[in-house]
Point group: C5
Chain length 155, copies 5
């Protein structure tokens, strides 16, 4: 049976891990979900690596909510770089779902955005391991997760 | 028989993968094309690595269209860093074809640029694996992909 | 018996290592603490790697206090990148506790912040190796270390 | 017999590879020169790695001419990071010779600078593998390649 | 017998390598010093790696003097990142001693600063391999190399 890992943080201000688990349950069957929580985004890389190696996950959803300060942007960059390294070390996709606090106008929108982006990327994770041809159908169509799609560039 | 991989994204607003496949068919024979689509540019590194290892590709064309925000620039940088790592891990060239949304003045030019750069780099990919001496003839001549060539510096 | 490593610097202006050791003693039993001090944050990655490999630590707390100049920010970034690499090489968490000098308004607040953040992250380190479910209970609740928690985003 | 690799790009606006080969011929004997050309600087890392592994080069001169836009600076940084990684993977020096388009006031100076810096670094490459003690004699003397030397700091 | 490596550059405007060797001789006995010079800071990582592997050094002092331009800052960052990687690959400390040209007000101060920082870090290198407990005594005391110490933060 396929396994999907979900790793989130206590730093995030929305229970993104909860939404990911919920969406995965809705999206399909045939896979088992593993969950782990770490303090912040910089703890995600090794947590995802251990999740893959210890549970045999086929893919991981890494969830985080970087703050609005410059230092938070740097932390997010370091975390992302680490997540890419883990993918290369394990040959597994890690779907990174980061919502930056300053992407939203207020707390209400932040909560909505974090849920929406998490749910859409949970679907992407399922497609990556089970239905890759569905992604190919959407190639170059300007898909976004959370806010509305950019759509294809009109010629 | 040689194999060329094409990996693109659903985030891009132009079907760059389609243009790459089309150009490769026009450019030559003697190779087979493999295609894969992922959500965004940060998913490209591991997808290219898996493409190389699972299909035995000799080279991969990695296509993406980063957005115009600061965060998009950072994502593109992380993706590029990962793509270079994959090349070093696999000893295969990956021709990165990124078109930044803010390189174009409007959607129409964006669509044109994405197609043009993709097609020119598809030719580069074929040269890298089949006709490396053709690249040497163009050494130092200010070649560009998409917009017009810069040309050699006049003395 | 579990082992927790503590590595700090002579560059820091607060004895963060001392606070970490003290908090670990208060927090629990069943683990042994190893300590090491290096000149600056860029010396932390290899020191943490050697600590893990030579003492068999289950986790390390890496403590540093980057200065306020641009160059200090770059050093901190390089150190953080290295610390993530060490985690991936060793499959061990390293809890990075960096306090930037310009986070505080004056020396007094700096001393308070460094102690407070160190103590809270020492607890996180214990949770990561002994009580991971406690972290999951706090998922998405906007936890911060040092200054007050951001809390969950209200909907 | 020693081998020196020369890798340049079609993106550059000056035939830096040609000048490197010419200078190497003037500088000495006892080594063979291998040449390869790739599209841009981001293709240099894997090309240098393959050059070293496939031809047994003792050292490589990597030549590139990044453009003047912000994105070009980022590409150059990614390429440089990759070139350092290749050196660590192969235990071979790679002498990076990058000339940024905006270092020169006009095309004429650009052409001069690219030739001059390439020639001076070709000599450095020979020294690194054959005459390391000559470099030690110049330690701390403010050597520059292309524009005039900064010279030692007067006390 | 312990070995300490010293690697510096011809780019630097002060003979930092010479000062390092001199200070090491004053500081203690029981170790042998190896020296190597390379063109610039980006050549330091592989030079340090080869020094460690070829001479069996227990630690290396890597000396450089980045210029004042933006591009020099980027080169220094790339070099530092590489030096951290070498440490992780070899399990050896590399004490990085970089003096940025714009840290000093004039050439005279630059020369003084480069000597002073080099000497203080040479002592740190000896402590790291021979007297690690001396570093622990200075933990959190705001040590600086070159300019005066920041000292501990007053509460």
């Amino acid at each position: 049976m396929r396994r999907i890992g979900v790793v989130d943080t206590t730093f995030a201000r929305v229970d993104m891990g909860g939404f990911a688990v919920d969406e995965l349950k809705k999206t399909g069957t045939g896979f088992k979900v593993e969950r782990r929580t770490v303090p912040g985004v910089k703890d995600l890389p090794v947590a995802c690596k251990k999740m893959i190696e210890e549970t045999g996950c086929d893919i991981v959803i890494a969830l985080g909510m970087p703050g609005k300060e410059d230092i938070d942007k740097v932390c997010a960059h370091e975390a992302s770089t680490g997540l890419i390294q883990v993918q290369l070390l394990t040959n597994r996709h890690i779907v990174e779902v980061f919502v930056h606090e300053d992407e939203a106008e207020d707390e209400r929108q932040l909560a909505w955005l974090a849920e929406q982006r998490t749910r859409e990327h949970a679907v992407n994770a399922v497609r990556l391991i089970l239905y890759p041809k569905e992604l190919e159908k959407d190639a170059g169509t300007g898909q976004r997760q959370g806010f509305e799609d950019a759509g294809p560039a009109r010629r």
